[in-house]
Subunit: 140 residues, 2 copies
Amino acid sequence: MSEHVHSDEGDALLKDASLRITKPRQAIARVLVDAEDHPDAEQVWSRARENDPSVSQATAYRTLAVLAEKGLLRTHTFDGSATRYELAERPHHDHLIDVETGEVREFVSREIERLQARVAEEHGYEIIAHRLELYCRKAG
Amino acid sequence: MSEHVHSDEGDALLKDASLRITKPRQAIARVLVDAEDHPDAEQVWSRARENDPSVSQATAYRTLAVLAEKGLLRTHTFDGSATRYELAERPHHDHLIDVETGEVREFVSREIERLQARVAEEHGYEIIAHRLELYCRKAG
DNA sequence: ATAGTTGCAAACGTTTTGCAATGGG
DNA sequence: CCCATTGCAAAACGTTTGCAACTAT
């Protein structure tokens, strides 16, 4: 059931950001909700156009920017390439990047997080956010 | 003594990269050796021009690219902004970024490193490189 | 001599923005 | 109705590159 429900989750995302519900934004929001990878703006735009071919690049970038700014999306910039996006509502995790294939795996380590907090504390800081990326190769 | 020695360290850096010693590259290399922060390409270029005003932007970018590629420089891309550089010969460390002032502090945690290696291992990988950034605010 | 290096300016890929037209609340 | 939002095209940004002149080796 529910082939294409009224894209509830996507609309919820937009509402959470206090954005007006418009067709272009719905197309974009659905892409983000459905995404199982970490698409960049161009990919989000391209996928959104499959839902609504009239969506412009500008709207894709603008919507991503607002959602990220309001904390509903998380952004990543692996190395120096295009910014990639993912839903922030997903549980926090860090990334393990296979440098040969580009595959991205997610992981969490409570122990590492705890040590990070301690490091910040030792410097007189508290952590707002962090980013941990392991660039790896399959163990031989 | 040694007001402006023949920029030994800078030349050494270039030699290590098997680059010909030229005036523009010497100007750039000295900037990198002297840098106590994490300058981006534009900053390196601008500082290099203080030594030799004729250094072009292209040469700055080209030299940084080669040095980074040959492993003599490490690169960072905090958030989505311009790539920043630092000497790789310096002991490895991670970064704590003050989100209010932009100040960057360095730290190392052997414990965190060990846990990272373990995470990679659990996934069947070995770490080539990693990046850990703590975005922090001064503790209230 | 000659291959590596340079500055210039144009091109690049990604992202942002001014604008007049459109459309949601 | 009115202001947020849109698409378009131009611009901005950081970075790369083709080329003819130059220079370290």
